[in-house]
Amino acid sequence: MIEIVSATRCVECDICVKVCPANVFDATDNGVPVIARHEDCQTCFLCEIYCPTDALYVAEFAEGPTGITEAQADARQLFGSYARGLGWKRGKAGGSEFDPTHRIRVAQ
């Protein structure tokens, strides 16, 4: 589930508030968005890839918080790791032209 909104990385653009399909975040008057409805998070990782500054971290466990801290996620270079896997950068789409899934389907 979503666990970290990094105040040091966030530029307060509120894109995550807009794009989260489960409406998990609330914008704040002058600050970073807050995780307002944690229970509704569907662990889809999409907020991470839309965030222009890799300020969000969604942990792998879908049933509740893991308690991972920003320092831990940072040390393991986990911020932005899903976006890098896809080829998305700074919130912009990219990389689908290099998707080798057709090779997997042949092997299947």
Binding site: Q42, G85, S96, D99
Partner: protein, 541 residues
């Protein structure tokens, strides 16, 4: 462009020719198709068009069959696997239309990958990219997109569906759209299982359609589960095609031939399910050789997010797994379609994608993995065209101000609202009947009877007492929809006294010729189940 007007109650009030409810691929294609036919289109999604629904977080393979002579043979081969409930005519027209829309995507510039010979490979659509691209196409087509606008109920003028109403969930204001036709593209019902894309997939469209008088079909086919790393949302089976499976004590899980299982997907989910009922199961993706490991990582990056974040190398280390229930998302049930333009039989109401029954396409087996995404591409297109044709015929008729709101359970309880019943409890009660492997993957008459009685009592409480105010109505309505879907599913499963595809009755193994037809459910509170044997006549011809 429709102009917003503030009505007396200060709610958002729009008028359109066609209103599309949903924000996944079928909604996007319906909106584009209707707009291309000249209709004024409004699309209202519970989430955000581009990220919501089952496709956006995934990577979907399509059923891509280029035109040519062997098309009939390909369809025939697939039909053989559908438990005799699919309809080759629908399968053929679906692959045709889906192929045309895949070509359209490539003409629009969607960044498909290339094969070694340089030709574009158009049979696979990477979810986040595809849905972001579709959002742009929908906006370019002139559609008014309303994100975070869940629909709560349909509106009727007594003769036809003339719009829908809901709530703007980030503001708390009500909305209403008057429209000459409505497309339900609200997806399936995942019974609140924590799978990719499922938060919003609560079967709202089924309840709305049934309240309007439409029928449902195939609701018994909710026995599809997919492997995932334990506790994760990653219900993607593909990597488990190359895995071994072990019990807590390290002993391997054996396949039907007595050999250790080396492939855990498709029919082999059965062995894993049996083991999971007894105790924890572990897997290792040790059947994938190095080249394949690289393709899996690069082609299915989200499958590896749980391992990477948990610090596991899934190719060399054992990790705990689970089977995630998928309701009708990878099941096949949904709203019954009565004509080629995806009409529901209720004037003005059309249906597309997972909201519709996919039995004509995939019968009693799951359409996940290829058929469902092609179905979304094709049915969205037909429903959008059908709705805009219907809307054109109605043009000129003034919208009547005295419309009737059709929503009942979760909105307008039959008896007094009660504080003792909460949406969360309703959902948990339904989940405990329709998600456990020993109740729903493997089914028995006795078990289904018991589940049926419990769900009946849950439903009575919902019908009589569940009500929300303001934004809470989204939750109460979701709970009511989940309760209705669970109740229909168990009732249909009890009715089908045989085993077929993902409907596994351990007390009645094997198909019965008497059930080589679909089961159609009509009604909400008092519903009836009838066979649809006309499909057989179509198959024979």
């Amino acid at each position: 462009m429709p102009k917003p007007q503030k009505s007396v109650s200060d709610r958002l009030h729009l008028q359109a020719d066609v209103l599309v409810l949903g924000g996944g691929p079928s909604a996007a294609w319906a909106a584009v198709a209707a707009a291309e036919s000249g209709a004024k289109v409004v699309l209202a999604d519970k989430g955000y068009l581009g990220t919501s629904g089952a496709t956006a977080p995934s990577n979907t393979g399509t059923w891509c069959v280029p035109p040519g002579d062997n098309r009939h043979a390909v369809v025939e081969r697939r039909w053989q696997r559908t438990g005799e409930l699919a309809d080759p005519r629908w399968m053929l027209r679906c692959v045709d239309t889906a192929y045309r829309n895949l070509l359209r995507l490539s003409e629009w510039g969607y960044p498909f990958p290339s094969e070694d010979d340089g030709r574009l490979y158009i049979a696979n659509l990477r979810g986040p990219d595809y849905m972001r691209f579709m959002r742009r196409r929908v906006l370019l087509a002139g559609v008014t997109v309303l994100d975070h606008h869940p629909a709560l109920e349909l509106l009727s003028d007594g003769d036809a569906i003339v719009g829908a109403a809901g709530v703007v969930r980030q503001i708390g204001q009500d909305w209403r759209v008057d429209a000459n036709a409505v497309v339900l593209a609200t997806g399936g019902c995942a019974f609140r299982e924590r799978i990719l894309g499922a938060t919003g997939l609560t079967g709202d469209g089924y309840l709305m359609a049934a309240e309007a008088g439409a029928s449902l079909s195939g609701m018994e086919f909710t026995g599809k589960y997919t492997l995932a790393p334990y506790g994760s949302s990653l219900n993607k089976g593909l990597p488990f095609r190359w895995a071994s499976f072990h019990r807590e004590d390290g002993s391997p899980i054996l396949g039907p031939t007595g050999e250790p299982l080396r492939n855990g997907i498709g029919d082999r989910e059965e062995e894993v399910a049996r083991a999971l009922i007894v105790g924890p199961v572990y897997a290792r993706l040790d059947q994938a050789e190095p080249a394949l490991q690289g393709w899996l990582r690069q082609g299915q990056p989200n499958c590896f997010v749980p391992y990477d974040r948990a610090g596991i190398d899934p190719f060399s280390e054992l990790f705990r797994i689970t089977l995630r229930a998928e309701g009708t998302v990878r099941g096949t049930g949904g709203i019954n379609i009565v004509s080629d333009d995806c009409a529901t039989g209720v004037p003005g109401l059309y249906v597309a994608g997972d909201a519709a029954s996919r039995e004509m396409m995939t019968g009693a087996v799951s359409g996940g993995g290829a058929v469902n995404s092609s179905w979304a591409l094709a049915s969205g297109w037909w429903a959008g065209k059908g709705a805009s044709t219907h809307a054109q015929r109605r043009t000129g008729k003034a919208f009547r101000s005295a419309v009737q709101s059709l929503g009942q359970a979760g909105l307008h309880p039959a008896s007094s609202a009660s504080a003792d019943i909460s949406a969360g409890e309703v959902i948990e009660a339904v989940r405990s009947e329709v998600t456990p492997l020993d109740k729903n993957f493997f089914r028995t008459g006795e078990g289904l009877e018991k589940s049926g009685e419990r769900l009946e009592s849950v439903w009575r409480d919902v019908r009589d007492h569940l009500q929300g105010e303001g934004l809470d109505r989204v939750r109460t309505r979701e709970a009511a929809s989940i309760a209705a879907a669970g109740r229909w599913s168990v009732a249909a499963a009890l009715h089908r006294t045989e085993s077929r595809g993902m409907h596994r009755r351990t007390d009645l193994p094997g198909k019965s010729p008497a059930f080589a037809h679909r089961l159609v459910i009509t009604g909400v509170d008092a519903f009836r189940i009838a066979g649809a044997p006309e499909r057989l006549a179509e198959l024979a011809s």
